[in-house]
Amino acid sequence: MRPLTEEETKLVFAKLACYIGRNIQLLIDRKDENYCFRVLGKRVYYVKESIVRAANCIGRDDLLSVGTCFGKFTHNGQFRLQVTCLDYLSQYAKYKVWIKPSSENSFVYGNHVLKAGLGRITDNTPVNQGVIVYTMGDIPLGFGTTAKSTADCRHLDPSAIVVYRQSDVGEYVRNEDDGLFS
């Protein structure tokens, strides 16, 4: 278990900034307790320092996970966010999309968000912006990228894609064996 290198930090923060912008500051400088990022293998974890201390006692080969996994570095060095960081993203998200109950299932099965399923969207959302997807009851379901800005959304026909799905909560069930966590 080691801290992030400079380059790795840049990659991770760049990705996070897509979704939570400058709120990354809030992730690092927390008032209640000190959190930090650690790397285990190829995975990046966001974890309290006290837990890191406890985990230091366990050998590297036997330790599998600490705190929350945010994502992993791919073979070519890109950083990919996973659904496991959804809780933190949804706390600090700047742009949000709410979908109707009828299309909740569809999104959770892995489909994109269509205009027909769109309930609400934050004002002035630009194109290609990272957004968090919620149910109408404010339960976070996943995140994605907008295909259209808020203004354009109003003029779309119902079957047009509004948000490209990047990660959703259904992956806990769909991708159990797929290397999501092992």
Binding site: I51, D62, V66, C69, T84, D87, V108, V169, E176
Partner: protein, 643 residues
């Protein structure tokens, strides 16, 4: 009969190239087309080479023979003189039977179907074929009918056939009914309950039952009867049958009806009375109600219940828990709702709430879950800790860890580390915990409904391996606890109901470590078993709790709460009889180093320890003064038990 006919027909149709079936079939049934308007054609069955000339155009077969004897006679006689097989129809294979003696005048020949292979009648043939194939089995009936009522319409003939069939079926049903009544009477006979006269009691004792093919319902009713007898054996015992025989037969029946191995049946009968065994085994056949646990990190029970009810889920809160809901029926799949995926609840059996409730984790503690996968109890602990402190989840099986990590992330647990260690190695880590939960791997006798293969696959060897692992694990769990914590608690739980995996393991822990059994904090459940088949355990084990599917309607479970009093191992030898204890003492010696020398020295050390007993007691008293009053009392209790 029919076979004869076929043979004959074959002979007669040698010049056919006929399809055999049609040969057989067509002769039997009179085709509708032949009833009226066509000249009746005689069957080929009769071994007569003579072919009668075409008789008078008697339209139908109902003509009375008496009416026109003379004319017929004349006709026939005249025709007979010609007496040559006239190719009446196109087919040369049609043969007609005629009576060549003086009876010819009044005896009508049997009229059967012509074997019409002509193309015109193909459709008709197919229909006839079908009929005939049905009627093939009824050849004998057919003949009888024909002999008696030759002038019946074919429809009527078929009706008669059906009636005879129905009558036969009724007769058979009546017979079955009678035999079943007889069997019931045998069963209900007051004198000889269920042991029929024809079966020798010695035979039942020899446990050979392949010969008797009893229906399952019979076996079940017999099981119930025998259980009823055992409920009040003195008064209800049948004459001439010993208790042993009855028990052997009961076990045999249970084995056949439910499918358990001998080993397990033995285990159940040692644990329960026959009546309770039966109700337990029956409850093993059905599932317990589906229950979920609300994740208090993300939602409250009331809100989630409301959300789920709006989705069409019929549920109720679990009375003895603050976070449990029992689902009766649901229109949506409970394990796949968006709320489930967002981590608002966990599908978990109600019994799994109990060890965590007993552990009672507090915020800001260091807690270890030794056998954590797939993570139901771990996430429960984290919820009770409110994501503070440190939670270590460990499991020896790497393959089960992805599920554990997934559940932790899904439920929003942030204070957890996941490790893949053998639980026995954890004490050697430079970290000690405040509380430890050990949900030990077991034989799973309490969750048979989830995995029915347990019934036949578990053997005594499995039990031995299981219990050995459990013994090592519980000692490791105790060693991993920091005694100076405010509440150094270890909770041991299994989903099994055997004494060997539960109370015996606690007794093992009590013997080798300075721990004591605490009140589990659970309001319901049967107390632990203290005396079992000659083995006696420490009285405090009564505070542990046992749960059964047939009495609590939750999975079979065992929970025991231990409090650590002191570090280190117990080296004192029990002064009472040394039986299996001796073996365990040797195990201890192996733990400590395992050389023969040590074992030899061990006996010396035992003697020395006995001599030093009073000195050790003093030491303990001093130590107990340092700690709180609670452990003082407990230390005293320990002294009295070991002295």
């Amino acid at each position: 009969m029919s076979s004869k006919r076929i043979a004959i027909k074959k002979g007669n149709n040698s010049n056919g190239g006929q399809h055999k079936k049609s040969v057989v079939s067509k002769s039997n049934v009179v085709s509708k087309s032949n009833v009226r308007g066509r000249k009746p054609v005689a069957s080929v069955a009769a071994p007569s080479s003579k072919k009668a000339p075409p008789p008078v155009d008697s339209d139908d077969d109902d003509d009375d023979n008496d009416d026109v004897p003379t004319t017929k006679k004349s006709l026939l006689s005249s025709d007979e003189e010609e007496a040559q097989p006239v190719a009446r129809t196109n087919n040369s294979n049609i043969k007609m039977k005629a009576f060549s003696d003086e009876n010819a005048s009044w005896l009508k020949p049997k009229t059967k179907l012509p074997m019409n292979e002509s193309d015109d009648d193909i459709s008709g043939d197919d229909g006839e074929d079908e009929d005939d194939e049905d009627g093939e089995g009824e050849d004998s009936d057919d003949e009888e009918i024909d002999e008696n009522d030759a002038d019946l319409l074919p429809v009527e003939r078929r009706a008669l056939k059906e009636e005879k069939k129905a009558a036969k079926i009724r007769a058979e049903a009546e017979e079955d009914f009678q035999t079943s009544i007889r069997q019931d009477e045998l069963m209900d006979a007051d004198d000889d309950l269920g042991v029929p006269d024809d079966i020798d009691t010695e035979e039942t004792a020899l446990i050979d039952s392949e010969g008797r093919e009893d229906a399952l319902e019979d076996i079940y009713s017999r099981i119930q009867e025998t259980v009823g007898i055992f409920a009040n054996f003195k008064e209800r015992r049948p004459e001439g049958v010993s208790r042993d025989d009855l028990m052997i037969r009961l076990r045999r029946d249970i084995k056949r009806y439910f499918g358990y191995s001998d080993f397990l049946i033995e285990l159940y009968f040692n644990l329960f009375s026959p009546a309770e065994t039966l109700s337990h085994l029956e409850s093993n056949e059905t599932s317990r109600p589906l229950t979920i646990r609300v994740n208090t990190l993300k939602n409250t029970r009331r809100d989630l219940a409301q959300i789920l009810m709006n989705k069409g889920v019929n549920l109720d809160p679990i009375k003895w828990s603050k976070v449990g809901l029992v689902i009766y029926e649901s229109q949506v799949p409970v394990g796949a709702t968006p709320e489930y995926l967002a981590g608002h609840y966990m599908v978990q059996s109600a019994a799994s709430f109990l060890p965590v409730m007993s552990l009672d984790p507090q915020p800001n503690e260091k807690i270890l879950d030794m056998c954590a996968a797939p993570g139901g109890k771990t996430t429960h602990i984290a919820a009770l800790m409110k994501n503070t402190g440190t939670l270590n989840a460990n499991d020896i099986h790497k393959g089960r860890l992805p599920a554990l990590v997934a559940n932790l992330h899904r439920m929003g647990v942030t204070n957890c580390t996941v490790s893949n260690l053998d639980g026995r190695k954890i004490p050697s880590l430079p970290i000690k915990f405040n509380r430890v939960l050990l949900d030990a791997p077991c034989m799973g006798l309490g969750v048979v409904h989830k995995d029915p293969s347990v019934k036949s696959s578990k053997t005594e060897d499995d039990m031995r391996i299981c219990t050995e692992t459990q013994r090592h694990l519980i000692l490791a769990a105790i060693d991993a606890v920091d005694v100076s914590s405010p509440e150094p608690i270890i909770v041991y739980s299994t989903c099994s109901i055997s004494v060997e995996e539960n109370e015996e393991i606690i007794a093992h822990a009590l013997k080798h470590r300075w721990v004591k059994v605490e009140d589990s904090g659970l309001e319901f459940g049967a107390p632990g078993i203290v005396s079992f088949r000659g083995k006696k355990f420490h009285q405090s084990i009564e505070k542990s709790r046992r749960y059964y599917p047939h009495s609590n309607n939750i999975d079979g479970f065992f929970v025991c709460k231990l409090r650590k009093i002191q570090d280190g191992k117990k080296e004192k030898v029990q002064t009472h009889k040394q039986t299996a204890d001796d073996v365990e003492e040797e195990d201890l010696a192996e733990e400590r180093g395992g050389s023969l020398l040590l074992k030899a020295n061990y006996k010396q050390n035992q003697a020395k320890a006995a001599a030093n007993a009073p000195a050790k007691k003093q030491k303990k008293r001093k130590q107990s003064k340092k700690t709180s009053g609670k452990s003082n009392a407990s230390a005293k209790r320990l002294k009295t038990s070991t002295s």
